[in-house]
Amino acid sequence: MPEGKFCNKKPVDTAEGITQLLSDTSGNTYYKEMKELTVDSDLLWKTIQNTCKSRIRTWLEICAHCGMCAESCFLYQVNGRDPKQVPAYKIQSTLGKIIQKKGKVDNAFMRHAMEVAWSQCTCCNRCGMYCPHGIDTGIMFGYLRGLLYQQGFVPWELKIGAGMHRVYNAQMDVTDADFVDTFEWMVEEYEEDYPGLTVPVDKEGADIMYTVNAREVKHYPEDLAEAAVLFHMAGENWTVPSKGWEETSLAMFAGDWAACKIQVESVYAAMERLKPKRMIGTECGHAHRATVIEGPYWAGRKDGLPPVESIHYVEWLAEALNTGKLKIDPSKRIKELVTLQDSCNYIRNQGLKQATRDIMKHIVEPGYFVEMSPNKEHNYCCGGGGGFNGIGLYRKQRNIALIKKRDQILATGAKLVLAPCHNCWDAIRDLEEEYDIGIRWSFLKPVIIKMLDIPDHLKPEE
């Protein structure tokens, strides 16, 4: 069985393994080795029999091939309406075929399935809303990714990402000590401007336990300080766990089911240890989906819920603004056309559209907020979701995928895009780099901090 040095069926679960894999620039050898990788058909079929439950089997069975899903898929739209980009075709010709053939598929087929699973579907779940039967191709692609991962057919960056979660309980090589140290450093830097600012670590029984994205710790630590500032200004009793602080899950994008469980259990352990009233994650879409929506099932929680009530950052922000915990200085509201990117993972898939609209009402001068078309649960994926942004092998396809969002933004006439999701933020940044349409983009935190009406007792001494 030709298992490669880099490309094989074994997950990476040591720091050395990750370093070694990273040393294979762009995964060049990895993808070369993939061409020789044998498909373990017996294992594949056994796995399908054990894990492919009635929902997916029924969906594959009842699909009437009506084509209603075609127009709903932004990738179909931007790729010249190629019939091969119709969601029903995409899943039937991959997962459907594997099941039909009882796992007896070859290497070339698996590599093709990998390409479809990671470059022709971002798991945005929009097609599921338009199918008369409610068939959700995105969910099925998530499942297919799991099968492909097990057989070693997974994009190089995602094998690394899933490995990071196994080794560090984080999507990057950020240790628990790095996290606490960086958070304290940032708070110290901002303390001059916000007297009394602290980061309470491992405080038991706090009202809020805050979790983040390891990227913030590694490269964008201002995000941490900004979160601290807003909790401080709102007078919240909050804490961060010194362990179990990472909310994201590249393991979910990779289809590494075991790592998904390991990761989410690290966060749940923190919840159980610190017993906060609520958990709030950063402005990230997939992180919320992984930890709050899907995570409970990975962890085998019977009630389908995390150990404590868990809400998205925009829900907290809307609540803080609506209740007056955070006050906006009306003279500092946004007074230029501004649009909002609805993240698939918590708008379409969890229905938080009202929260973000509430926030807009507080921070944008009436008349300046322009909705994209379509919007809310009907909005299109940013173009880089589901892991697409990070995969070098499919960069070209990803750049084409950005066209839909580019055109939606251009149609609003806005030069400022608010994107409360790391993935969306990144895709929008990349589309500016690629297509140069002259826009700016931002998370909510930095925008809101600039327009806060700060109570006198929290102001720095002049």
Binding site: S23, S26, E157, I160, D193, R395, R429
Partner: protein
């Protein structure tokens, strides 16, 4: 004095003036010099690809690439590097200001040397999403003095002998004065304490009469004497002056008049200026215009 210096560089022509000064100080005062380069900004996704600020190419940052960039910097500064200079080279990936501060946190240098702003780098998509320049952010948060060289004319350096200290009588200015005294004593420099009286109608809201101007000059001179007079006596050569005008212009003129080879000022703007006002404060204006290196002190 200046035992450890962190020289943050783009390793391009934009940092050449700063490089000359950084290497000069390091050589003159036997400092350990850390040459630090941030090669590009990573995405918020998990792509391994970074756009190299120097080559403008998309690259995979791995050990080999970092080693190559390290070697490239060595070649770029080859004429300065010899056995007598204690130097190290580090290369990082990230947002430049943040990584410079991170490196400063790790190394705890006595001085950060940083080049002036460059035109073309500001046009990358990364810059558009963050307000303020690298220089402003580093100057605001740094725990040690930050030395900036913006113009080629500011980079001549034959050791330190003549310091101009610009004061606005603020709390931070006191700290800047302490530092200026320390440098002047350690390196046996002359020191010229200077205050510029802002008489622009934009600032005061009206035109001042000449009597008022002269009255205010007398008051400021008294203030300088009261605040700094006693301690200045510890130096063999010093002077104190107050001129009126647009502050940053007067400071630059005064420094030229005194043949200053170093300008020291406090940097105490609380907030970063917004994106549109690129170089907002007085210190920034001095940095852009000065004919000698400028050290800004924040903490």
């Amino acid at each position: 004095m200046f035992k450890k210096i962190l020289f943050a560089t783009s390793a391009t022509a934009a940092s050449d003036h700063a490089a000359r000064v950084a290497f000069n100080i390091a050589r003159s005062y036997q400092s350990a010099l850390n040459i630090f380069h941030v090669l590009g900004v990573p995405s918020r996704g998990y792509s391994q690809v970074v756009v190299d600020v120097k080559t403008k190419e998309r690259v995979d940052v791995d050990e080999d690439y970092l080693a190559w960039v390290n070697e490239d910097i060595k070649t770029y500064y080859a004429k300065y590097l010899d056995e007598r200079l204690h130097y190290t080279i580090d290369v990082a990936v990230g947002l430049p200001a943040r990584e410079i501060l991170r490196q400063a946190k790790k190394l705890t240098p006595d001085l950060i040397v940083i080049g002036g702003s460059t035109g073309d780098e500001d046009e990358t998509v990364y810059k558009k999403s963050s307000a303020g320049t690298t220089l402003q952010k580093v100057a605001k948060a740094s725990h040690c003095p930050v030395l900036v060289v913006n113009r080629p004319a500011a980079s001549f350096w034959g050791g330190l002998s003549n310091i101009v200290f610009g004061t606005d009588f603020s709390k931070t200015s006191e700290k800047a004065f302490d530092f200026a005294m320390k440098v002047a004593k350690a390196l046996d420099c002359e020191m010229h304490v200077f205050h510029a009286l802002d008489i622009s109608p934009l600032h005061g809201g009206r035109m001042l009469s000449q009597d008022e101007i002269e009255q205010q000059i007398r008051e400021a001179t008294r203030k300088i004497r009261a605040l700094y007079g006693a301690r200045l006596k510890e130096l063999s050569h010093y002077s104190m002056d107050v001129w009126e005008g647009i502050p940053y212009v007067e400071i630059v003129k005064y420094a030229r008049d005194k043949h200053a080879d170093l300008l020291i000022m406090a940097h105490h703007s609380r907030k970063l200026p917004s994106q549109d006002i690129r170089m907002g404060g007085n210190v920034e204006q001095v940095i852009v215009r000065a004919g000698c290196p400028v050290i800004s002190i924040n903490k």
